[in-house]
Symmetry: C2
Subunit: 195 residues, 2 copies
Amino acid sequence: MPETTPDRRTELLAAAIRLFSDRGYEATSVREIADALAIQAGSLYAHIETKEDLLWQILTESADRFFAAIQPIVDSKLLTLERIRLAIAAHVKVITDSTAAAAVYLREWRHLSEPRKSEFAGRRDAYERIFRDLIRDAIHEGTFGDFDEKFATLMVLSSVNWIYQWYRPDGPMTPDEIARRITDLLFHGLKRAGS
Amino acid sequence: MPETTPDRRTELLAAAIRLFSDRGYEATSVREIADALAIQAGSLYAHIETKEDLLWQILTESADRFFAAIQPIVDSKLLTLERIRLAIAAHVKVITDSTAAAAVYLREWRHLSEPRKSEFAGRRDAYERIFRDLIRDAIHEGTFGDFDEKFATLMVLSSVNWIYQWYRPDGPMTPDEIARRITDLLFHGLKRAGS
DNA sequence: CCTACCGATCGGTAGG
DNA sequence: CCTACCGATCGGTAGG
């Protein structure tokens, strides 16, 4: 992004996030993105090198946000269960802060070309690994039951990642409330206690 | 689809499912679909009217499969909890029978134009409603705890719908095994019993 | 099902 | 950041 002011860069990324999440990366033309900024299509290339660069920047910044949100929690000295609880809440917060960015992060990475696609997959796997290690610890400690740790991790992440599909900022639940309910359900299950 | 033999139609849908799930609807060209059938791009239009028709047929047939799988279970006289268990297993089975079709069903419907998009959304909502009604019954009966029924439904469906992302037919778990573990986790939670 | 083709739009560039 | 433009590819059609 040669010679672009920070503000302009933010605007550009915000426009691309909104369009990529609404219509998908492939269905979004560079002309639509340019329109959103009220500039000509050709002028876009004063700010970016290719359309894919734009996707790449969105994805890497999203990945950064997820890592930054959970890292201090994971590194803390809290009990495993508490770290899981807080990591889920932090993850939920990143999604609810921008469901559009989360949608692009979770859905549009397939349109990266190599080697970026593999690099992205590596970072995503590393992130999942952090959750998996927490869950493994909880199982080994006996806090969690004797579940397959990979399977349990997939369940946790699928529950939290689905949020971008239905969360609305003007809905009845705050991000913390959502995290609390998800955690409660994941920890204790749907069945009435004692049944 | 004028004058197309059943076999040819099946081939065509199968090719489109594979390509739409791999690259996405927008990123798939009619020429790629034609190539997969070893015919010319123009010849495709002896079988379809538009590219979107192809997507529409895939989506409606997928929806039909989901409904057909759970309807007899929901209509049965079994206990609510057992109906939920079996409905989850049936849903999982539809996904594992073709993760590619499930991927198109869950991801590509946004590329429909109106009024088809709204019609699709209506059917999908009706399907979710069936699960929600089952869960509501379980809550009212006291079999499940006093959860928000909408939220509980979202949790259940997000867990089962995420499967298409990671299930591999040559993996260690059978579809029934997956359903059993998901149900167990959803019903009883991750925490060790009694903790 | 093929050949030959259509107008529209795509991502991107040169020169200012 | 604009004007003017590029070759490539898009979904789709006519006529056989």
